[in-house]
């Protein structure tokens, strides 16, 4: 197989991997915030439900969760799971899983905020929503950025788990080419891809951290 043809096929996979990565972040970052609210809820039933959710998501393999999300509807309801659903299941599975991790990160950040910030805001007339959006959340984001960076780097590598659903992302394609042509080259290309991707992630996150470094 020509190297350029191989690269072409792998490039298509890269686009899919980047798609999974981007969509997972877009959905799981806000979802994680909601989950953290649920987890911190004063209502014992609500907080217990979210505690269990987080514990399952963090306590079982992501690959298994992907299989459950994909095949679950078929085994449970006999639903037709072809076509677009494969991609939807991947995004759903990744987002639900990462939301749990992000939720715990948000929670640690929110709980680390000194009470004085809430009290100062209250006396100045901010309501609960304004206090959270204007005073608490911006500071929480700065505090949790290093932990978020860790998760994002893990996510880059985790996108390869989509091969469990035979989705045509980078890693699945690399495996196929390698098997069909008895060559090791696609794995090297894949490795370089993930590495460069993560270098980029590190640069971007460092940039954001620098931007927020105007105070401490």
């Amino acid at each position: 197989m020509e190297f350029s043809v191989m690269l072409g096929q792998l490039a298509e996979g890269m686009v899919q991997s980047i798609c999974i990565f981007a969509l997972t972040l877009i959905f799981s970052l806000p979802l994680g915030l909601l989950v953290s609210f649920g987890r911190m809820s004063k209502n014992r039933i609500v907080s217990t439900i979210f505690r269990i959710y987080i514990s399952i998501m963090r306590g079982t393999p992501l690959m298994l969760q992907l299989l459950v999300v994909f095949y679950g509807p078929f085994y449970l309801f006999g639903a037709n799971i072809g076509g677009m659903y494969r991609f939807i299941a991947i995004i759903l599975g990744f987002s639900l899983n990462y939301a749990a991790y992000f939720a715990e990160i948000y929670r640690s950040g929110i709980e680390s905020m000194p009470r004085g910030q809430y009290e100062a805001a209250k006396v100045l007339g901010y309501n609960g929503r304004q206090t959270f959006m204007k005073i608490i959340l911006p500071q929480v984001i700065k505090r949790i950025l290093p932990s978020v960076t860790n998760e994002v780097i893990t996510l880059v590598k985790d996108t390869s788990l989509a091969f469990a659903l035979a989705y045509m992302e980078m890693f699945t394609i690399a495996k196929q080419i390698a098997a069909a042509n008895t060559t090791f080259v696609p794995f090297i290309v894949a490795g370089v891809f993930y590495y460069v991707f993560n270098l980029l992630v590190a640069v971007v996150m460092e940039g954001i951290e620098k931007k927020l470094n105007y105070y401490h």
């Binding site: 000194p114 009290e119 100062a120 209250k122 006396v123 700065k142």
Partner: protein, 252 residues
């Protein structure tokens, strides 16, 4: 009419009675200092007055308007509109400043007046600059709290409270978190407010300052008001606990 009226206030933490049937009233333009050993409930009293804590008994009125009262065992407050109005009557300066670290000095002062009180931007900025000048911080408006000394932070916090034009300003040990050499600049600023006839309630361990600035002094101990009167009356009283308290101070 009193600006602030606290009647028969009780406050418990679990089973610990921290405020025991305290009544305090503050007239417009008056400066009241609250002194007493630590743990006597001074902060809690201010936190009840500013509704950071719910009372367990009694009633709080601002300008004759009920801000908190009891219905059965539960503290009640008026509706949203009235509460917002009452909230604007008072400001609080914390021991630990509690400035917003992600906001510049200017934004710390102007964010609430502009976005909460919905006042005119230009007017708010103009007033904020005047306030900063009064605090001796005219060159700090673009600085962030982390770039300031403790004394400067506390002066910003005072300016931030004043920017909302409160009728009464509470101070909870405004100089206790400061190095001794920075205490003076903050006390000087508070003194300058006294000249402007701003009503103030000051919890402080600066005895000379309290004696000099106050119209009235309250000595609290173990959740009750032990003594109340003019500075001279209180500081020269023969009251045992007060003597003991002042004695401890003079030894330091």
């Amino acid at each position: 009419m009193s600006l602030l009226e606290m009647k028969h206030i009780n406050k418990k933490f679990d089973n610990l009675e921290v405020i025991k049937d305290i009544s305090v009233s503050v007239k417009e333009g008056e400066i009241l200092s609250i002194i007493g050993p630590s743990g006597s409930g001074k902060s809690t009293l201010l936190r009840c007055a500013t509704m950071l804590e719910e009372i367990d008994g009694g009633e709080i009125c601002y300008m004759g308007e009920r801000a908190a009262w009891m219905e059965g065992k539960k503290a009640c407050h008026p509706g949203k509109e009235a509460m917002k109005r009452i909230q604007e009557y008072f400001g609080l300066v914390f021991q630990s400043f509690n400035l917003f670290p992600h906001y510049s000095v200017m934004k710390n002062l102007t964010d609430a007046p502009i976005n909460i009180q919905k006042r005119n931007k230009d007017e708010v900025y103009k007033e904020a600059r005047e306030l900063l000048k009064k605090m001796g911080l005219e060159d700090k408006e673009d600085a962030y709290p982390c770039q300031l000394s403790g004394g400067q932070c506390q002066r910003v916090a005072i300016a931030r409270a004043l920017a909302l034009n409160p009728k009464i300003l509470f101070f909870d040990e405004p100089t206790s978190a400061l190095d001794p050499e920075l205490t003076g600049e903050v006390l000087k600023v508070i003194r300058s407010l006294a000249d402007l006839d701003i009503t103030m309630v000051i919890v402080t361990h600066e005895m000379a300052f309290a004696r000099e600035i106050s119209d009235r002094v309250i000595f609290m101990d173990k959740g009750v008001v032990e003594l109340e009167g003019t500075p001279d009356e209180v500081f020269t009283s023969g009251h045992g606990r007060m003597q003991e308290f002042l004695g401890k101070f003079n030894q330091r």
